[in-house]
């Protein structure tokens, strides 16, 4: 299978602490990959490393075979888009103005707003269903709408690869599903490679083609959700006892955590 991004012996530091050590991972092209793991396991750091936001201490990240550090940052930005965790827009910025920012890597000092820029902006607004709200300032939108606006910005960038750091944080359940459905459609209809950090294991299993479970800065397991998602993995990675059952809606693995309390409740009943 074709690989969009690969890392070889990648070591990443935050300040002087090593977060990720000698990590090898291959992100399949045109699929949805979810990075999961406990807090502090390095999944966000890995995403930042893939997006060239963190410089490797050793090792390298390869974008379709070329070391990312050897490419100009603008050239990378034409192939790879990034949505950091809970980004903040300046006050008063409208949705359309935000989405237009996605065109930055395609512009120059003089050529600041080509016809193409216009087309990609409008189509990003259309795909994300933000046309109606395009002239509203971001601060007047709901959390889900705001997240859709940011995704539209990343879409206007028109990259084959899209990296997202916890795109569903701070959203209620309905809006989480709305955002994930949107990403799923983008992948299925346009063939974009999507890599995202997700907190919710069950959502990761439902939406991802490829699951990467991380533990203390290394990869614990990777593969299709049906193989990676086991009771043993959840025990090792999260330190949690669980049962894995079949999701009655999607047919994907569903993790039911077991706590002392839920066990005792059953006893009472």
């Amino acid at each position: 299978m074709e690989k969009a991004l690969t890392t070889r012996q990648l070591t990443l530091n935050y300040d002087r602490t090593t977060i990720i050590r000698d990590l090898n991972v291959e992100i399949p092209a045109q699929q949805i990959t979810a990075l999961v793991g406990a807090n502090g396991c390095g999944k966000s750091a890995l995403l930042k490393g893939l997006a060239r936001l963190l410089k490797p201490q050793t090792g390298a990240v390869y974008l379709e075979g070329t070391a990312i550090a050897k490419l100009s940052t603008k050239a990378v930005a034409k192939q790879l888009g990034l949505l950091p965790q809970s980004p903040v827009a300046p006050e008063g910025l409208t949705v359309r103005e935000l989405v237009a920012q996605g065109r930055y890597p395609h512009q120059g000092w003089l050529q600041q707003w080509s016809k193409e820029d216009d087309q990609f902006t409008e189509s990003a607004l259309a795909i994300t269903g933000m046309e109606e709200l395009a002239d509203r300032p971001l601060e007047n939108l709901s959390g889900g709408q705001r997240q859709r606006a940011w995704i539209a910005m990343a879409l206007a960038q028109n990259t084959d690869i899209l990296l997202l750091d916890e795109p569903t944080t701070f959203l209620d359940l309905a809006h989480q599903i709305e955002v994930l459905d949107l990403l799923y459609d983008l992948n299925r209809t346009q063939g974009r490679t999507i890599v995202m950090v997700l907190h919710d294991l069950n959502q990761a299993c439902r939406y991802a083609d490829y699951l990467v479970a991380m533990y203390q800065g290394t990869i614990f397991a990777q593969g299709v959700p049906g193989e990676v998602m086991t009771e043993a993995m959840v025990r090792e990675v999260f330190g949690l006892e669980s049962r894995i059952v079949r999701d009655p809606v999607a047919g994907t693995p569903l993790c039911i955590p077991i706590s002392q309390r839920s066990a005792s409740r059953k006893d009472c009943a």
């Binding site: 300040d15 936001l53 990034l82 903040v88 910025l93 050529q111 395009a134 960038q157």
Partner: protein
């Protein structure tokens, strides 16, 4: 030129040039330009020797008004002052716009992060320590002072990359220290030189001649267009460092270039007219209300608003309590300080 739903696009068919502006921008620019002309004429007409506005316009157009004194009064005495006020306002407003965009903080301004204090210290030091120095060196000294302060702030705030919040905090501290040094200079300097420096520190365009304009103009001609080109970069940095990097912006380089522009503009403005406070704070803020957040339109709008603001402040300072003259820095502070408090209050309750 095409009108879209919310913005106008200007594209050249045979030259790779295009730019996008908020649709309100052309009208706002026209209004500001007309308002500026009106203030120019009224301010030039006003003075101890009254000249009618019509005669001012006639003289400026090169027509004979029948009074040979008019040309001298207008061209030699009054016009340089009005033009200086306008130019200084442009410089301060753009510097403020850049700083607010970079720090993502609507309360940031060159006087708040210590850049103006550094320029003032260098200029006061020059006036007090070397009173015989020629006037055209003042902008250079002020620029160096502003650069040194900015560099110091930037380096002290650096921690594996520059962060907007640290820039502000360190800037406030350095600004206070620089201000103390300026006070020290004034306390121990020669009384005549000190009084010169004090007049200048209050922020005034009193008695400015073409000579000062000649010293200031090259700075503006170089850095104002540069700031317009950098507007798009500022938009990107305004979304936060991670998003900007993701979009392919060489963040540290662009931020460095923008800080240099900001320092050059505020330094040369301060060198020409002293510290005229709150223009760099108010002009970008008012302009954002007029044409929105994107900097392609905001930057020129803020420049016009800033120019208009200082020109108007100078006119008010001369006319409100005539024959007593208030320095325009006092007028902008009288309006700006409450405005700053209002912004603080609004930010806290947002």
């Amino acid at each position: 030129m095409t009108m879209g739903k919310s913005w106008v696009t200007i594209r050249s068919p045979d030259f790779p040039f295009s730019v996008r502006l908020d649709r309100r921008t052309p009208l706002i620019w026209a209004i500001l330009a007309i308002a500026s002309l009106v203030v120019f004429v009224i301010s030039t007409a006003y003075g101890e020797y009254p000249i009618s506005s019509l005669d001012v316009v006639k003289t400026l157009l090169g027509l004979d008004t029948g009074n040979p004194d008019h040309a001298f009064i207008i061209y030699t005495l009054r016009l340089p002052r009005v033009i200086t006020a306008f130019l200084v306002g442009i410089g301060l407003a753009i510097a403020g716009t850049i700083l607010q965009g970079l720090t993502r903080n609507p309360l940031a301004a060159p006087e708040i992060v210590g850049v103006e204090a550094g320029a003032a210290l260098a200029a006061v030091a020059l006036i007090v320590l070397f009173p015989s120095i020629p006037i055209y060196l003042l902008p250079l000294a002020a620029f160096l002072g502003a650069s040194l302060t900015a560099l110091m702030v930037y380096l002290l705030a650096w921690d594996r990359g520059s962060s907007p919040i640290r820039l502000i905090l360190v800037g406030v501290g350095i600004g206070a220290m620089t201000g103390a040094l300026t006070s020290l200079m004034i306390t121990f300097g020669d009384i005549y030189d000190v009084s010169q420096a004090l007049v200048w520190l209050a922020g005034s365009v009193y008695g400015r001649t073409w000579e000062q304009i000649q010293a200031l103009l090259p700075w503006l001609l170089c850095f104002v267009p540069l700031s317009f080109f950098l507007a798009r970069e500022l938009n990107t940095l305004n979304l936060g460092d991670d998003v900007a990097r993701g979009l392919g912006s060489p963040v540290e380089w662009r931020r460095g270039l923008l800080i240099l522009t900001c320092v050059a503009l505020s330094g040369s403005s301060v060198a020409t007219a002293g510290t005229i406070g709150f223009v760099g704070l108010m002009a970008p803020h008012l302009s954002r209300q007029l044409v929105g957040t994107p900097h392609e339109g905001l930057m020129p709008t803020a420049a016009l608003v800033g120019g208009l603001m200082v020109a108007l402040a100078d006119f008010l300072g001369r006319s409100l309590f005539a024959p007593i003259e208030l320095p325009c820095g006092v007028v902008t502070a009288a309006i700006g300080a409450p405005y700053f408090l209002y912004l603080l209050y609004r930010n806290r309750n947002a």
